[in-house]
């Protein structure tokens, strides 16, 4: 999952160091346009449905947080 996620992220924004960046939202590294693009890619890639309630900074501030959110949504679907 991690590899797939990192692939999506680096394709979305090649200029960002997603391994080390921990405040992607709080520091405005990812903007709302990026988030919408990213959500659509994550939904397709991991067969999940990210809803507006999941769009909070804590879920998108780092690659780890995104991974945790994806896992949680996959478990909810099961």
């Amino acid at each position: 999952m991690r590899e797939k996620l990192m692939g999506i992220l680096s394709d979305l924004r090649p200029d960002v160091d997603f391994e080390n960046e921990k405040s992607l939202i709080d520091d405005n590294v990812l903007e709302s346009f990026d988030i919408i693009d990213l959500v659509s890619r994550l939904n397709d890639a991991f067969d999940i449905e990210i809803s507006p309630r999941d769009l909070v900074a804590e879920n998108f501030n780092s690659a780890d947080a995104m991974e945790a959110m994806i896992k949680k949504l996959q478990e909810e679907d099961d």
């Binding site: 346009f33 919408i36 659509s40 809803s51 507006p52």
Partner: protein
């Protein structure tokens, strides 16, 4: 003194009650704080609610009933949403469907109320125009309804609260008292900042007032008064004369736009400082609404720094929900098949962005100039997002870095004109006037008239000196803040006599250089009308 005369004077003073009058920061706020502190912890919310209702009543009279009714309605709807969430006899999908229906109905009702108060005449008059074009006879009698103070702000807070309960981000509030207080809390009532329920916990805690909060609160209020009374109110008469005067050319239009931009920023951010400082007295920390907006690199960045709480409201409750909605996804999918990935990825955000900026324009009030203002930023921000990538590639080809001086200067100049032109349309009485002023910038740009009459527009030599000095002080503070340095910490590290000297200078600066008297109306706050 004759008692009747005294009562008359008090009534007159209260008629002018506003965040920038001494009755507010010198009487209402300290008196509320004093009673709040004396009363036992359990009763403190009642003290804040009583002060808030008193403040509301002073400004809007019996329309206070609209605020109370809205709060009761929101409380009940929140409880209903919560009970549906906890109803295990229903399946998940059924719960979701039922909750969606309740939320939709509640939001529609809240919007109908605000439309009835604020937009009926606008709608009626536009129907008259349309029917006239179509050759039909339709008449509309202007209702001129009084609007409950802060309705645009507390309605958004109510919608955000209900949406958060719907998404189960927060549990519904059990205490009706808390909701009543949340929707009428006097420091944020008139101009915001638009506050999320999840951030308001301290408001209900009833903690005792601490010395540090009072000091920081009043320091922030003083800073707000400085911006409002020393700068914004000195600019106000000139802005009125320039926009409403008989003479207009390109130079006058640009100068008017610049002065109004400065006036609006100092006025609105000053009022927000007073709101944040007042809440701080009770230990409540409201969100910042401005973050050095004139240091933005583009229009999107500007809106992340200007009226932040309105921007984040639209992002969370309009932009994201529309972007993630099924109809938007379907449209994007269809577009992807026709135009490919590159362009189609902008379609969903563009649809959502359109509704964000339409709402932004209409939220400011029932005027076409505001709708135009919203659409102006919709087009600009969408365009910026589309051209950002090619622009960076162009810089690479030119061996220029994004942080290099020429690029920064180019971006700053571009943004400067974007902002002041936007504010020019925002302030113009009619859209026609705004378009006329915009045209003149290109067809009749001359500065001799502005230079000749610069002292006949309501600001004399002394006024300019005060304004320019004030602006230098604000620019210095904003530059230091942008560099990540806390001025307060630096001040606190000064020896006590110096610290006190500094605050006394600030107090006297506001008293001596503030704009008072005939021609200046300290009671009017630009953003209170929205």
């Amino acid at each position: 003194m004759d008692l009747n005369y005294f009562i008359d004077c008090m009534v007159k003073w209260w008629d002018q009650l506003s965040y920038t009058t001494w009755m507010y920061f010198g009487l209402l706020l300290p008196l509320t704080a004093l009673i709040y502190q004396i009363v036992p912890r359990k009763g403190r919310r009642i003290v804040l609610l009583a002060a808030s209702w008193f403040f509301f009543f002073s400004l809007s009279g019996l329309l206070l009933a609209a605020n109370i009714a809205a709060a009761v309605f929101v409380w009940g709807t929140g409880r209903l949403l919560d009970s549906i969430s906890n109803d295990k006899s229903l399946k998940r999908k059924q719960r979701k469907k039922k909750k969606k229906l309740v939320l939709t109905l509640a939001v529609v009702i809240l919007l109908i109320v605000i439309v009835c108060f604020k937009y009926l005449d606008f709608i009626g008059l536009n129907i008259v125009r349309i029917t006239q074009i179509a050759g039909l006879a339709f008449d509309w009698h202007i209702l001129g309804l009084a609007v409950p103070i802060g309705i645009s702000y507390y309605t958004l807070e109510a919608i955000a609260y209900l949406a958060d309960v719907y998404w189960e981000k927060i549990p519904a509030e059990k205490s009706i008292l808390n909701i009543l207080l949340f929707m009428s809390f006097f420091p944020k009532l008139v101009e915001g900042p638009i506050t999320r329920y999840s951030e308001a916990g301290k408001l209900f805690a009833g903690d005792g007032i601490c010395e540090n909060d009072v000091a920081e609160g009043y320091q922030r209020i003083l800073w707000g008064l400085f911006k409002k009374l020393v700068i914004a109110d000195h600019l106000a008469p000139a802005v009125s004369q320039l926009f409403d005067g008989e003479y207009m050319d390109g130079g006058v239009a640009l100068f008017a736009a610049l002065l109004f931009t400065l006036q609006e920023y100092m006025d609105f951010s000053g009022a927000i400082d007073i709101a944040i400082g007042s809440a701080r007295v009770f230990g409540v920390r409201l969100s910042d609404n401005f973050r050095q907006p004139f240091y933005a690199k583009n229009a999107s960045d500007f809106w992340r720094r200007w009226h932040i709480t309105l921007g984040t409201f639209f992002r969370d409750y309009i932009f994201y929900p529309i972007s993630l909605s099924k109809p938007a996804a379907k449209i994007t999918e269809k577009a992807r098949k026709i135009v490919g990935n590159g362009v189609s990825r902008f379609i969903t955000p563009a649809i959502a962005l359109f509704f964000v900026w339409l709402s932004n324009g209409l939220w400011h009030g029932p005027r076409w100039t505001y709708v135009f203002y919203g659409m102006y930023y919709f087009v600009l921000i969408l365009f910026e997002n589309i051209v950002e990538e090619p622009f960076l590639k162009l810089l690479e080809l030119m061996h220029l870095k994004e942080t290099s001086v020429p690029v920064r200067v180019f971006r700053y100049v571009k943004l400067f004109f974007i902002i002041i032109i936007g504010e020019m349309f925002f302030r113009a009485d009619t859209l026609g006037k705004g378009i006329h002023m915009f045209k003149l910038i290109f067809t009749d740009l001359r500065f001799d008239i502005v230079v000749k009459h610069i002292q006949d527009i309501g600001i004399d030599r002394y006024g300019y000196l005060v304004i320019i000095t004030g602006l230098i002080v604000v620019a210095f503070v904003e530059t230091v803040k942008e560099a990540g340095i806390s001025i307060r910490s630096k001040l606190m590290s000064l020896p006590v006599p110096l610290r006190f000297a500094f605050w006394y200078i600030c107090i006297f600066a506001v008293i001596i250089f503030g704009a008072y008297g005939t021609g200046y109306d300290a009671a009017d706050l630009v953003y209170a009308q929205f």
